[in-house]
């Protein structure tokens, strides 16, 4: 905090002393109180990315290097051309800090914000996905409270707006106990024409600036500066900085905005999110190379006597700013009238390159439009934490339990068990596009009505692996999310990320961020996946217990499936079929669920990613798809491949006879073989008569594929060929444990 004297007031700002001086020099005067507040917000970490920008430049330029990328990082959302005249927009964002304080409204307004970002690209929001992180549920009422109300916040908001929530992931870990993570992602679909009509820029002088939607109130003032600090005990007092959402108004805004765009008179639009009007107006004009003259008195406020500082900085939800061609003003306003949405013409753009805001005759803001959006960057130091060397040398303890017992414990563990309790509360079917039901696939699959194309989307990352090896962990996040869409029959097309880290002012926390970005950048380059957007959330650190969260670079991948018969689901279909594993299993138990659940151990060597290998496996799978040789596919994830096989048995209550004698190239211990989390493996179901053909193709692609068993009618998983002999698992008992964990924990 820096104290700045403005006229007779003394203001506490989060700007540094040198930033304040920079502003004074640039303006050649003292900023007004409102201007200072605007700089404070716009130059906060959340809006300006001042710590992260130097690192984010490691990502290759998506718009330049990939011809199908229509909009890359820096826009409200990434947009890709998916053929047939359609544009797909998507973005992921964090709403961690508000949700940690007020889970219901924090999560709800997170959804609200991400929907607006997609709407800004001129397309209809058609799906939501939410990766979440909490402390362990068992015996922890605080975590249960956060979990319950975050899910309810997402459900109430998403369901009401008529946008299906089609996917997500949840991890529970002690490090998230006081800093839960709520990341929200949204996908939008429209024609390429729709997208072209609505840039989030004001390029033309003389256009009208129109505000539409909810009224401006005192809620959420300084929400972004709040999100750019660590949580303290005082944070509870920050509750007024959490916005209140109104999904009904949001639904109206969606419809009114899309109908307004259809008139052809909207030349630009921008949502009011973090930083409120300050942010929207300065970005519209600053990035568009124009200026604007705004009459603040036209802004409809929720309460009387709000001053210019409050109005310009309010983060009241459900507001959009439109740049409208003069000749179409009336028609656009008629659309807003039809939906009974409040609106006001605030002023016009001009060629002054200066943003001027008048309160009556008083000029309260008079700033070069570009100044607000061009914050200086801050170089941060990075340092690899000393504790890692020790953690990485942990070795696998001698098994303390029988293998079958461990399998039952793992399937019932909070991170592996079914998340049905969550997705039952989400309307995942509204929009009549969801063709793979929740639980039947590794990703959410949506049809594009009127075409034979399908969108597959997945989000995720492995925080435990990232904690030990952020470079490899971030790569794994990408390979996993891609693996999920591939398992459903898609080709991965593009990636967006949401980086959740601790305090960047601490060299150890910043090292995690720097390593994760380096990992993502390298992996995406190697796999030829464009990074079309991202969001950085720092300060996920708790000053009371002095703990930072485990590094969590959430990855969202969208892919495209060409043709209905190329959609693949994960449940095993028919007994007698072969079970094949693609990829080798190595002794990579570091940061595994096995270590964590059975030994409460956080160390060991986590999995490594070999992109060349991975790429070849993906090509091989695409070849099998083309020849229609795969009946079910599931990406191997937490808990190892034995858990994967269990999950595939559940739906149709089948069993499996496995023989692992020849599937152990590295002479692993039984527990290493079964529970290792080596990256990029798949379990597939195939018809036995195709075995030779598949093995021939494997040889041609030079990849490792092994038949490890057959499906049986009897719901038992028999495992032969282990060093400790034979194992028999009751698949129905496993299913029951899988399904009952969260309902049991959440039932009061």
């Amino acid at each position: 905090m820096t104290k700045v004297r403005v006229d007779e007031n003394e203001l506490n700002v989060d700007l540094t002393q040198s930033e304040v001086e920079w502003i004074q020099n640039a303006l050649e005067r003292n900023p007004s109180i409102t201007e200072l507040g605007m700089f404070d917000v716009m130059w906060s970490e959340h809006c300006s990315y001042k710590s992260s920008r130097p690192k984010l430049s490691l990502f290759e330029d998506a718009e330049k290097n990939y011809d199908y990328v229509l909009a890359g990082p820096g826009q409200d959302a990434g947009v890709i051309d998916i053929g047939d005249g359609y544009a797909l927009a998507f973005r992921i964002e964090s709403h961690n800090h508000p949700s940690a304080i007020e889970p219901y409204h924090g999560a709800a307004t997170g959804i609200g914000g991400i929907i607006r970002d997609i709407l800004c690209m001129g397309v209809r929001p058609i799906a939501l996905l939410d990766p979440l992180r909490f402390g362990p549920l068992k015996g922890n009422p605080h975590s249960q409270w956060l979990f319950k109300y975050v899910v309810k916040g997402i459900a109430d908001y998403g369901n009401c707006t008529g946008i299906p929530t089609i996917g997500g992931e949840v991890e529970f870990d002690k490090c998230f106990e006081s800093n839960c993570l709520v990341n929200v992602a949204c996908i939008g679909l429209g024609t390429i024409e729709d997208f072209k009509h609505a840039p989030s820029r004001a390029y033309n002088p003389g256009d009208y600036v129109v505000l539409m939607g909810g009224s401006t109130g005192r809620d959420g003032i300084h929400g972004v500066t709040f999100a750019s600090r660590t949580l303290t005990e005082l944070s509870e007092a920050d509750r007024p900085a959490v916005q209140i959402g109104d999904p009904f108004t949001k639904k109206m805004i969606i419809e009114a905005t899309l109908e307004a765009i259809k008139t052809g008179y909207v030349r630009g639009l921008k949502d009011l999110g973090g930083g409120g009007l300050s942010c929207a107006l300065s970005e519209l004009t600053g990035d568009g190379g124009t200026g604007a003259k705004i009459d603040m008195g036209k802004i409809f406020t929720r309460e009387p006597n709000m001053n210019s500082y409050e109005i310009m900085l309010s983060e009241s939800q459900e507001r959009m700013a439109f740049i409208v061609k003069p000749e179409g003003l009336e028609e656009v306003l008629n659309v807003f009238q039809k939906f009974e949405m409040a609106h006001a013409v605030l002023g016009r753009t001009d060629d002054s390159k200066i943003l001027r805001v008048y309160d009556g005759d008083n000029l309260v803001v008079n700033l070069p439009a570009i100044a607000l959006s061009e914050s200086p960057t801050i170089p941060r130091t990075e340092k690899r934490p000393d504790y890692l060397d020790q953690l990485l040398t942990e070795i696998t303890p001698e098994p303390s339990k029988k293998l079958d017992e461990i399998i039952y414990i793992l399937i019932a563990s909070e991170n592996i068990c079914s998340k049905e309790w969550v997705y039952r509360q989400y309307d995942h079917e509204v929009g009549v596009r969801s063709v793979v039901k929740c639980g039947d696939g590794d990703s959410g699959v949506l049809r594009i009505i009127g075409t034979d194309k399908f969108i597959a989307a997945s989000v995720g990352t492995n925080s435990k692996h990232c904690y030990l090896e952020p470079y490899e962990g971030a790569k794994e996040g990408i390979v996993e999310a891609c693996g999920n869409v591939i398992a459903n029959g898609a080709k991965p097309k593009a990636m967006v990320n949401c980086c959740n880290f601790g305090n960047p002012e601490k060299p150890e926390s910043f090292w995690y961020f720097a390593e994760a970005v380096r990992g993502m950048a390298d992996c995406c380059k190697n796999l030829r996946i464009p990074v079309v957007g991202g969001n950085v959330s720092f300060y996920n650190e708790d000053e009371v217990s002095n703990t930072a969260i485990k590094a969590t670079p959430e990855i969202m991948i969208v892919g495209i499936i060409e043709g209905e018969d190329n959609i693949i689901t994960l449940p095993f279909k028919e007994f007698g079929d072969d079970i094949l594993i693609i990829g080798e299993t190595k002794a990579e138990l570091g940061g595994s669920e096995y270590y964590s659940v059975i030994y409460d151990l956080e160390g060991g060597i986590p999995p490594k990613v070999d992109e060349n290998q991975i790429k070849t496996r993906w090509n091989f799978i695409q070849e099998l798809y083309k020849k229609k040789l795969i009946k079910a596919n599931h990406d191997v994830n937490k808990g190892g491949f034995i858990i994967t096989i269990g999950e595939m048995c559940f739906k149709n209550e089948l069993g499996a006879k496995l023989d692992l004698k020849d599937y152990n190239n590295y002479g692993l211990r039984d527990d290493e073989l079964l529970f290792s989390e080596s990256v990029g493996r798949f379990i597939i179901e195939t018809n036995p008569r195709n075995h030779n053909e598949i093995m021939k193709l494997a040889k041609k692609f030079k990849i490792y594929v092994k038949k490890i068993g057959v499906l049986s009618q009897n719901p038992t998983i028999e495992i032969k060929g282990l060093k400790s002999g034979k194992l028999e698992i009751d698949a129905l008992k496993m299913k029951n444990l899988y399904q009952s964990t969260i309902p049991n924990l959440m039932e009061i």
Binding site: N159, C160, G162, P247, Q425, H428, V432, S434
Partner: protein, 235 residues
């Protein structure tokens, strides 16, 4: 003969476009999406109130919409025998408007529930079930937080044969497990005495194309075919 159906669009309706899609592209009949303020009953042979959260479901699910001018238009249709159909939120509106008896209370799970369930046909002489057989078991999804049907005088409803659909298991039994929300007597849909007004909690528009159904069924179509048939017989 052209059948013209209106899908009423309240602020907050969100299954409006889904219902229009099915009517236009699956059932292949002419249906208009009509903004509630512009709705004129004289132009239509029947009306559907789609799912969603009309007026945000503020105060109580469906109650604000139930007092809107569009419902006065729909009442004219109700009284002269044209089909008036409420799906999900539409059903809530129709009970609040007292077109239909009973009320829809919060699910006994106290949560929103989105899942595929089964319903059994109890009455096939209504504007939304005449293309079905009594005893048919249909796969169809629900998605609601307030779908627990309740009525004081269940006996009267039964005597009048006003229960059109009940939640059942695959054997057609009305069990507790097959009742997703705690509805009285597993009731999923009811009709008025004249059989032209039906309210139904599950979503037939989400069950009309086999690609959307986990079992590859398209049972939802018969609801809309019934409505079209009912209109044709009247004309």
């Amino acid at each position: 003969m052209r059948v013209k159906i209106a899908v009423l669009d309240f602020p907050g309706s969100n299954c409006d476009l889904d219902t229009i899609h099915v009517l236009n592209n699956v059932i292949n009949i002419k249906a208009d999406l009509v903004w509630h303020n512009y709705f004129k009953e004289s132009k239509y042979d029947g009306v559907i109130l789609p799912g969603g959260f009309a007026f945000g479901d503020y105060l109580r699910a469906g109650i604000i919409a139930a007092h809107s001018p569009a419902i006065d238009e729909a009442r004219v249709m109700l009284e002269d025998g044209r089909p008036v159909i409420g799906i999900c939120n539409g059903f809530q509106i129709l009970t609040e408007a007292q077109f239909l008896p009973g009320a829809l209370l919060q699910n006994d799970t106290l949560t929103f529930i989105c899942k595929w369930v089964m319903v059994k046909v109890e009455n096939n002489e209504t504007a939304f079930s005449n293309k079905m057989n009594i005893g048919d078991i249909l796969n169809i999804p629900i998605a609601h937080a307030e779908g627990r049907y309740y009525i004081e005088n269940l006996k009267e409803l039964e005597q009048n044969n006003q229960i059109v659909f009940r939640y059942s298991n695959e054997n057609g039994e009305y069990t507790k497990d097959s009742n997703p929300n705690g509805s009285l007597a597993n009731i999923a849909g009811v009709c008025n005495l004249e059989r032209n007004c039906i309210g139904f909690m599950p979503h037939p528009e989400r069950a009309s194309e086999s690609i959307l159904s986990p079992k590859g069924t398209s049972h939802g179509k018969n609801f809309f075919y019934s409505m079209v048939d009912f209109i044709k017989k009247r004309l």
